[in-house]
Symmetry: C2
Subunit: 351 residues, 2 copies
């Protein structure tokens, strides 16, 4: 058994993209940690393919599973040495958490945001929810500010369990903030906070499978969206964002993971974003850390994990990249209704 | 005169891409600094188009030029206020310089690298040279390490006035390091240092307009290239890098600026990289700071600047993004000879 054969087996068994390099990434992660969540985090291989690969590596006697730990065997150590595989190293900046930005003026409202967020509705599986840490939301706002997409701008948030609309409004910098969400609890919460805190946020209940309301089309400078990660779902939600923009020079922000999306899926997404008239101006991986959601033991990938341990609430393993696009040409997106299941695909791990 | 008309004029006069948003970015920069180099740096608008835009803004009485300073007039202040244009803010992390990574083990060789770099050949205009700060090179190596592209890997550097090959070899982590450069001075320098310092670097003189030598095709895990920024030149040099990779899972790094490349050019580059079988996994703007080269007063854009001041050597205004790609499919690049001028295009500012 070698890395090439292992990668072929994983592809054959799962019908998912999986390369020799993915196998290397997993072994690099195992060299750094024995813990399943750290291995998932460090390896940057989609969870569903990773689970199968770990089992195949155990069958090949490269790994052994001991309770909730994963360890290299002597055969595994020999393979790693011979293949020149080095331990995974994050080298994440200790100050900005790898994001590259300072909070700057956003730091002034951090305490107020924390108080507000304490009363937020809990994430539920029905809507594929799961929110990022408050720190991640604040850094996201700072990043938007640094790119000139916040101050004086009209901003649309499509799906807002991260409370981006409130954080943006708390800075006092945007000209207008509108949020859409399918979840009545969130819409109510944001309306209530806006009222009691005197913030200018328009909160509307809207199912993104439906076309955008006419008055939101071509009406914004900036959109933010953290889409579901099926290929069709991601492109649909990002497309709604793009169609809300005025035109060239307007910007969009999206979150995308390596946990539920292979690089083959990333490439398909990027090709489509470019075809729709946009360019990628920033792509910062591991920008967002997620708070572990309460339905971890019923998420799709749980049963597939070779060893199981419920992670602590603030023990991040699910992280996502922040992608900024800017329109170079007028947006090319149809404002059509989407039929059928847009939430699942073979790489989906959390729904 | 409004922003839209101004953008139309700049496009008509230069035949370059230029949006209303570009005009806003320039005014945001002028709100933050009166200095031409800071304005270039902050605005992220290609220098050639920016020079024309500044002159048009002066004609429109929005700006006034006073010696080497650029200031908003009262009419300019009124316009900025009415358009809701906010001052540019960088919010760059003070620890990592906005790069997001720690130097980690790379810090150990920083002093040795500085001693070596002190003897480097000076940048010359003939080869469109201009090197990044030593710090930028070290952070680049740390970033490659964090992405698993350094330790145990075979690395090709295509064009190496930044001394990436030496910095990589100094870590002792790579399996093999090869550098190519057209400049005999650099090849000799790197050979000499490798010999005296006992570093494993193969240095070869090669003109990247020529096909890659057969033995370098499909032979590497990682390439690094900081190409000339004409569209044709960039794609040609990046293509050489891609054709040097073994296959899916192998990675390439490139530098790209907003100083000599519009977002329209960025988009054309990204579309082509994706078409060649790659995906973008990281795109960190302003990762690289350049040391000002000695030929600043003979570079193409100098005569176009509306106000002139020779910047200090370590007063960075020319910065570039670090782009990481990874192959998802076998590379699709022909190994052909390139004829004609590949260095200039209408956005070229430094050659």
């Amino acid at each position: 058994m070698d890395l090439k054969t292992l990668a072929e087996r994983v592809r054959a068994e799962t019908s998912l993209p999986f390369t020799e390099r993915d196998a290397q990434r997993i072994l690099s992660a195992v060299l750094t940690s024995e813990d399943i969540w750290r291995i998932i985090d460090l390896s940057d291989v989609p969870v569903m393919a990773l689970c199968t690969a770990l089992r195949e590596m155990e069958k090949a006697s490269w790994l052994e599973f001991a309770k909730d730990r994963i360890r290299l065997t002597q055969a595994g150590r020999d393979l790693v040495k011979q293949a020149g595989i080095a331990p995974a190293r994050e080298l994440r900046c200790g100050r900005c958490g790898g994001r590259g930005v300072e909070l700057g003026p956003v730091a002034e409202m951090a305490e107020r945001f924390a108080k507000i967020a304490a009363g937020r509705p809990e994430a539920i599986q029905d809507y594929d929810q799961g929110y990022v840490t408050e720190e991640s939301t604040l850094y996201r706002i700072a990043f938007m500010w640094s790119r000139g997409d916040l101050a004086g701008k009209e901003i649309l948030v499509l799906g807002d369990d991260d409370l981006v609309s409130l954080a943006a409004a708390l800075t006092g910098a945007p000209k207008r903030v509108v949020m859409l969400d399918i979840d009545e609890r969130l819409v109510e919460f944001i309306r209530e906070v806006a009222r009691s805190e005197g913030l200018q946020v328009e909160a509307l209940r809207h199912d993104l499978r439906e076309p955008l309301p006419e008055e939101l089309l071509g009406a914004f400078d900036t959109f933010f969206c953290d889409p579901t990660e099926s290929l069709r779902g991601f492109l649909a939600f990002a497309g709604r964002g793009i169609s809300s923009l005025r035109g060239p020079g307007c910007a969009g922000y999206m979150g995308l993971t390596r946990r539920e999306a292979s690089l083959a899926k990333w490439r398909a997404i990027q090709r489509e974003l470019l075809a729709r008239g946009a360019v990628l101006t920033d792509l910062r991986d591991d920008f967002h850390d997620y708070v572990n959601w309460p339905y971890i033991e019923t998420m799709r990938s749980w049963q597939h994990l070779p060893v199981r341990r419920v992670p602590g609430r603030e023990e991040p393993w699910y992280r996502s990249a922040l992608i900024r696009i800017e329109l170079v040409e007028p947006p090319k997106v149809a404002n059509e209704r989407l039929e059928g299941d847009i939430f699942t695909d073979p790489e989906a791990a959390t729904t």
